[in-house]
Each structure stands twice: as C-alpha cells, then as structure tokens.
C-alpha cells in the first residue's frame, strides 16, 4: 500500500503542484511531479527530448545579481499578520523547513524592525563612541575598514522565537514556531578593538549601543560581554549587510537575544550602570506566574527543532529510508549532542551532527531511519558543551507559567501521520 504513495499524500502533492504551477506559470509544468517509478515505454523525461535539452538558455549577465531558480519561488520569509498592527513594527520568519546545512541565505534571514528599514548611504553613516571613555570618537565606514577584521558564524535568535507556543501548539510549521532565527558568517571589527581605541574608563561597566533608525533602538550590555566576543559587523555571508539586517553596520552579540544586536548601529555609549530602556523593561523581560519578572535574560538557551519532516515539509514518500533533519543551537557554546525520539519522548536515539560545529552557531543534525509507515511523534533534544539540555514545554511551564513570551526553548513535537502529513502537537 505504501508504494502507491510515491508522491506523498494526495493533499500535499496537490499543494506542491500548485506551487510548481505558480512558479512556472504555464511552462512544461508539473512534469517533474510525476512519480519516478518505471512505467511502460520508459519515463518520458528520459525518453523524450526536453526543451532545456535543445534550446539555449539565458546567457551570462542575464541577472547581474543572481536569484534562486523560479521553482524555488515559495522559499520566502512569511509573517503572521495577526501579531502586530503594522508591518513597519513587525516580524517575519525564516523558512527553516526549506533549508539545509547551517548557513541562512541573506535574502531569507527573518526580519524584525521597530520603525521600518532605515535607508542609509554608507558615506553618510557615522559611528560615535562616547560616555566614560578617555577620548570620544567618531568613525566613518571607511575608518572602520582600517581596523583588523574577524570572521565568525553565529546564530541570531529573537528572544520571542516560539513565543506564540507558550499556551500550547498554535502554528503549523517550523517557519512560524522556530523561524525567528538565522545563521550567517559575519565580517567585522571586534567591539573590543573599537572600545580600546577610545579607552574605556575603569568605572565603565555597561555599554549602550544605539541604532540610527526611527526607533533609535537601545539596549544595555554589560562590559564583560562587550569586551568578550561582540563584533561590529559590516558583512554577512561575504557581502554587505542587507538593509533589513542593519546596512551598513550592525552589532553582533553572540549567543544573546537578537534584540541586542542593534542594527544601523550609530553610537556606543559607555556608562557605569544599565539604562533600563524600553526594550529591557516593557519588552524582553520574562513575566513569571508569580507576577515577578526576570530582567536581563540575555543568553539564548539550548534548543533544537526538526525541520524535515515538519508541517510545511511533509513526508513525500512511503515507508523505507527517511532522512530526519534538524537544527540545534545554544547561546552557551557548541552543541555536543542531539537526541531524537520517534515516540514522543519515551525512547531516544543520538543523531549525527554533520557540518561545522562552531560555538554559538546553528548545528545540522540528521537521523537516518527505516520508516515502517506508522505514525511518529518526533522530538529532538539538544545538549550543549556545558551539559545543559532542552527542557520539555511542561517543565518550562511549571517553572515559569505561560506568560513569559520570551525564551521558550521547550522540546517540540511533530506528529507524523501515516499519509506523511505532519502536525504541531503537544504530548503527555
């Protein structure tokens, strides 16, 4: 019975046909969606000459800046319109279910703005360092490019990633439940290099980065972290930062919540106390069941999610070999282990981490199984180099209640049905 399901569940294959149809708009549409099983006379895709086998394609320079294949047009950031009042102070989500490896392509890194995307000519951009320093300084972008540089891959996760799931499973898709994250390689100058250039006074214990956008975003960062591994970055994945990621300059605060990674960075003020600004009082504080709220909860805890199969990436085949693939990360450092459960957390198998294992970066894991075609309750559990591992959602709720919004790193469950459809569920 399972071998009739070569193209996945009826529902889902219809959906992907639709998508393919949209993308090709009338081209030899959907031929590729036919099952690849042998048929009498042979597969026409092999036995017949296809257009692309005969006619010439586009030449070089057709797209001076290349774009993904038109068949990938569905791989885009998406938002959840009911969350916010207006798109200029809103968020969208990275399509994690469509990606593999550990790097997020620049064009689909999720966005979160508080006053829209500032448009800044780099020639007009300035970075000021002031406050408790020996010499307050102003740098142009050209100045910044004369300092020694470093390259690092780091994940950036919004503290509210998963925030809609505190009360229970709500959104069907890891793009929506876990997509406020991206992972790119940054090129920039160590923040310490710039602070040393200005000379931090001995009572300079805190740093206030500020953005040049209409929100003038500010956060208080303890000096210890600022001097440890923060970067002032101007490149991501080798090219200039995207406007929506803070072009021409952003702060990189490895392992800590995304809101602190101030975009369009224009100022760094050194002080002797934190500022308690809006984004660290009204927002980004974690309300507990008791009515008390934790503040300065900076570190992003160990977390993981299976990206395929997942609700937007259902199983497209019958029983037999199946690749379970996912992402794991921790703001504390490297991920040393990811366990996967097929039965809702009763029994676990250690998955294989593949690709670079870098501190405070996404890790890719795989578990290759022989699916017997029965229902699965998939879970993954990340463990970092300090031995911290992901709690269950119920453990988190027991400790914090349901109103914390931020820092939901509970174990996710996907219910894989016999027909390959996948749903976001919670389990006993």
């Amino acid at each position: 019975m399972t071998d009739t399901k070569g193209s996945g569940s009826p529902n889902l294959s219809r959906r992907s046909l639709l998508k393919a149809g949209l993308a090709t708009s009338g081209a030899v549409a959907a031929a590729g969606a036919l099952p690849a099983t042998a048929r009498a006379g042979g597969d026409p895709l092999i036995t017949e000459i296809q257009d692309w086998n005969r006619y010439l394609g586009a030449g070089v320079d057709e797209a001076p800046y290349g774009m993904p294949s038109e068949f990938e047009a569905h791989v885009v950031r998406r938002n959840v319109p009911w969350l916010t009042a207006d798109t200029v102070a809103s968020i969208n989500f990275t399509p994690l279910h469509e990606l593999d490896g550990i790097i997020t392509p620049n064009g689909i890194c999720f966005e979160r703005h508080h006053g829209g995307v500032a448009e800044i000519n780099p020639a007009d951009h300035r970075l000021m360092i002031n406050g408790l320093v020996d010499t307050p300084l102003v740098f142009t972008m050209k100045d910044l490019k004369r300092f020694p540089r470093e390259n690092h891959v780091y994940f950036l996760e919004c503290a509210a990633n998963g925030g809609m799931e505190w009360r229970g499973s709500q959104l069907n898709g890891c793009q929506f439940t876990h997509g406020m994250i991206h992972n790119v390689m940054y090129t920039g100058v160590k923040l310490k290099t710039l602070l040393d250039e200005a000379g931090v006074k001995t009572n300079g214990k805190w740093l206030l980065p500020e953005g040049a956008d209409a929100a003038h975003m500010t956060r208080s960062i303890p000096m210890e972290k600022a001097l440890d591994d923060c970067l002032v970055a101007f490149k991501m994945n080798g090219e200039a930062l995207r406007p929506e990621q803070g072009y021409p300059l952003r702060l990189v605060v490895p392992g800590w919540e995304g809101n602190m990674w101030v975009k369009w960075l224009r100022r760094l003020e050194v002080g002797d106390q934190p500022w308690h600004h809006r984004e660290e009082t009204s927002k980004y504080t974690d309300l507990l069941e008791t009515g008390k709220a934790r503040r300065f909860t900076w570190v992003m805890e160990p977390k993981s999610v299976i990206t395929s199969p997942s609700p937007q990436a259902p199983v497209g085949h019958g029983k037999g070999p199946m690749v379970i693939s996912g992402l794991a990360w921790s703001g504390n450092g490297r991920i040393t282990r990811v366990d996967v459960s097929l039965d809702g957390g009763r029994n676990w198998t250690t998955a294989r981490i593949d690709g670079p294992s870098l501190s405070k970066s996404l890790h890719r894991f795989y578990l290759d199984i022989d699916w017997d075609g029965s229902e699965l309750l998939l879970q993954s559990r990340a463990m970092d180099e300090h031995g911290f591992y992901q709690p269950t959602k119920d453990e988190l709720r027991a400790a914090r209640g349901e109103n914390s919004i931020y820092h939901n790193n509970g174990i996710q469950t996907w219910y894989v049905q016999k027909d390959g459809a996948v749903e976001n569920v919670e389990v006993s």
Binding site: T135, D143, H216
Partner: protein
C-alpha cells in the same frame, strides 16, 4: 489582475480626466473637520501647515501622488505618482478607504476610513484647502510625476587619522555632536534635560499626536500598543503590561517617547512636550490625579512606578531542569505510550490555512 495593477489602471484613467470628479460638494465640511482629527497626528492642513509624519495637505487636489517637494515619500507612493495617480475625489476616496490596497507599499500607517460618509466629508473638508478643487482649475498640467530628486552629490566620506589611540583611526567627537545624539536617560535621572510640562498640556499634545494609535485613554486602537490600565493583571491569564501596571521606571517613558514617538515622526517633540506627555501618561494610569500636576527635571525622581520592585535577576539556571543537569534519560522515559494532548489544527491560526484571525494569542515584542 493584482490589486496593485488594478490600482494603477484606475489611477491612470483618473489622471486622464482630472476634472471629472466633482463630488467634493457632496460632503459636509464641518463633519469633515471632525473626521480629520483622525489624521492630525500625521497631517497638517491650513495656514503654515508643515509636514509631520505625513505630508502637509494644502492643495492636495491636483497634486500628483507623492508629489510634494521636501517630503520623503515611500517608493510606492512615488511610483504611484509616476504612474499617473493624481489626487482628486475618486483617488482620495479609494486611498483613504484602504490605503494599503490602493497603494501597495504606502507607508501611511492608517487602516482607512470605513464609512462612506466620513470619506465624503473629510474629502470635502480637504477640498476647502485646495485651490484646484475650489476653483475647478484645470489640473491636467499638474506634473504627472515628481521631478527626479536632485541627486545630492556627497563628498565621499573621509577617513581620518589622529594622534593617540592604538591605531589612531577616527577623529575626536565634538561636544555638540555628542549632545545631538546622546539623549538617553537613566532611572537615576542622568540625562534628563531642563524643562517641565503639565498634565493639562500633555492632554492636548497626546490627543493630537498619540491618540490615533494609542487611543484617547491609552487603551489602544486596534493592535497598536496599550499604554494605560491593566492594574493587578500580572498574575492573570491575560496580563496587560502597561506603563502603570508593568514598567519599572518613569525615566524609560521619557526616554522612549523622546527617542521613538510619535511613531513615524521621532524626535519631533520638544523636551517640555515630552515632560507634559509623560505627566499625562501618569494621569492616564491613575498615578497622578491632578490636571495641574507639573512634571519637571526637579521633581522627576520623586515619581515611582508601582511595579518597580517586581523585577528580579535572571535565575533561569536555578530552575530544576537546568540545576539538575546530568545524563538525560534515553529509554523508557515515560511510563506508557505517549498521548497527543493538543493539536495546532484545532486552533488553526497558521497563515494561509484559512482563518488567520481566530482566537490567536501571542506577542512578539
């Protein structure tokens, strides 16, 4: 046809017959003046009207969309003008009814006027400030597109070296430059500017600049943030976190309003204005009850917000699941087969899955 194309097609036709529409007379000007209160947070009209969050609206009839010099429009609005949309009864009414549908990508953060009467009336009111509409003057000569903004040639930003420092890169920041950017305020009062403002002054400023989004009483319009109320809700099922119920420090209100509000026109309020609005926000939150109360640099630190003591340091690592870290269980970790206790499909709020607006709960900030 996409909505955008439809809008363009409509706009083009309208532009070809700029005088066809003369329905402005249909509206009631006085009623329109009241409706215009919904616009004043962002637009001015009349003598000496200046650009605010949105462009000033004198002589808007006959103006090409995005056609006012010296105002920075969205790309979409400029494109609409280039494509031939000129403001008249019909285009105004289409735009003001559903701004984001008529001009996809417009940055006017306004949901639109639902009632046709409001539309007619506010358009009639605007017409009284437009010579083209009043005199029926031929506007076909109105520029269909904005002259391309003169490209200001920027001197390539310089790079400088100085004596001292480790690399000697950059230059010393001047005191006036630091003063222009360093506007942050701390709970201990560091950074508070000279000045003062009363609750009564704040009410006027708030009504003009803030109420469109945050509501007359800080209760919020639609999904814009709530600024007042929510007392004693922090332990409830749906806590309402406001300045009065949640924020620990008043300095944060002053700092944030001055740096980021009104949304879309940041840094437009004077220091006195911000004192007055801060005082009014205290009043809306029942933290002062006297309209004559004046907030100033001198008495600022005397005001304490009620929830200050309820913030605690990050103690996540004391939670059982982290504190007792060790080898996690690998086999038979749960007593029996696992049951599904909740399914996302029951409450389907995933975008594109049908009913997005269902009973969705959540917050992203």
């Amino acid at each position: 046809m996409s909505k955008f194309l439809k809008a363009l097609a409509l706009g083009t036709t309208l532009a070809a017959f700029p005088l066809m529409a003369s329905g402005a007379a249909a509206g009631d000007i006085d009623a329109g003046q009241k409706v215009f209160k919904k616009c004043t947070a962002c637009h001015a009209v009349g003598d000496g009207a200046k650009n605010k969050v949105g462009p000033q609206l004198n002589d808007v009839f006959g103006r090409a969309a995005g056609g006012l010099d010296g105002y920075k429009y969205s790309k979409a609005m400029i494109k609409a003008g280039e494509d031939g949309i000129v403001w008249d009864d019909e285009s105004l009414s289409a735009y003001l009814k559903k701004p984001k549908e008529f001009i996809k990508g417009t940055k006017m953060a306004f949901a639109g006027l639902r009632k046709d009467a409001d539309l007619d009336n506010v358009i009639a009111y605007l017409a009284t400030y437009s010579s083209a509409a009043a005199t029926g003057e031929d506007t076909s000569s109105a520029p269909a597109a904005t002259a391309p903004e003169t490209v200001v040639a920027r001197a390539a930003a310089v790079t400088s070296l100085r004596d001292g420092g480790i690399y000697g890169i950059g230059r010393v920041a001047l005191p006036e430059e630091i003063a222009a950017w360093d506007i942050d305020i701390r709970p201990d009062g560091l950074g508070l500017p000279e000045g003062s403002g009363t609750v009564a002054d704040g009410e006027v400023l708030y009504t003009d600049n803030c109420a469109v989004c945050h509501g007359d009483f800080g209760e919020a319009v639609g999904r814009w943030p709530v600024l007042a109320g929510g007392h004693d809700t922090l332990t409830e099922d749906r806590p309402e976190k406001t300045i009065g119920s949640y924020w620990p420090y008043l300095s944060t209100v002053y700092d944030y309003v001055r740096r980021a509000m009104p949304f879309g026109n940041a840094r437009s309020l004077s220091d006195d204005d911000v004192y007055a609005i801060t005082a009014y926000l205290l009043y809306l939150n029942d933290l002062v009850d006297d309209e004559d109360f004046e907030l100033s640099k001198a008495n600022f630190l005397e005001v304490r917000l009620p929830n200050e003591d309820n913030f605690i340091p990050d103690d996540r690592l004391d939670e059982v699941h982290y504190a007792e870290k060790g080898e996690p269980c690998m086999t038979d970790c749960k007593p029996g087969p696992v049951e599904i206790t909740m399914r996302a499909r029951i409450l389907d709020v995933t975008p594109d899955s049908g009913d997005d607006d269902a009973a969705a709960v959540g917050a992203v900030d």
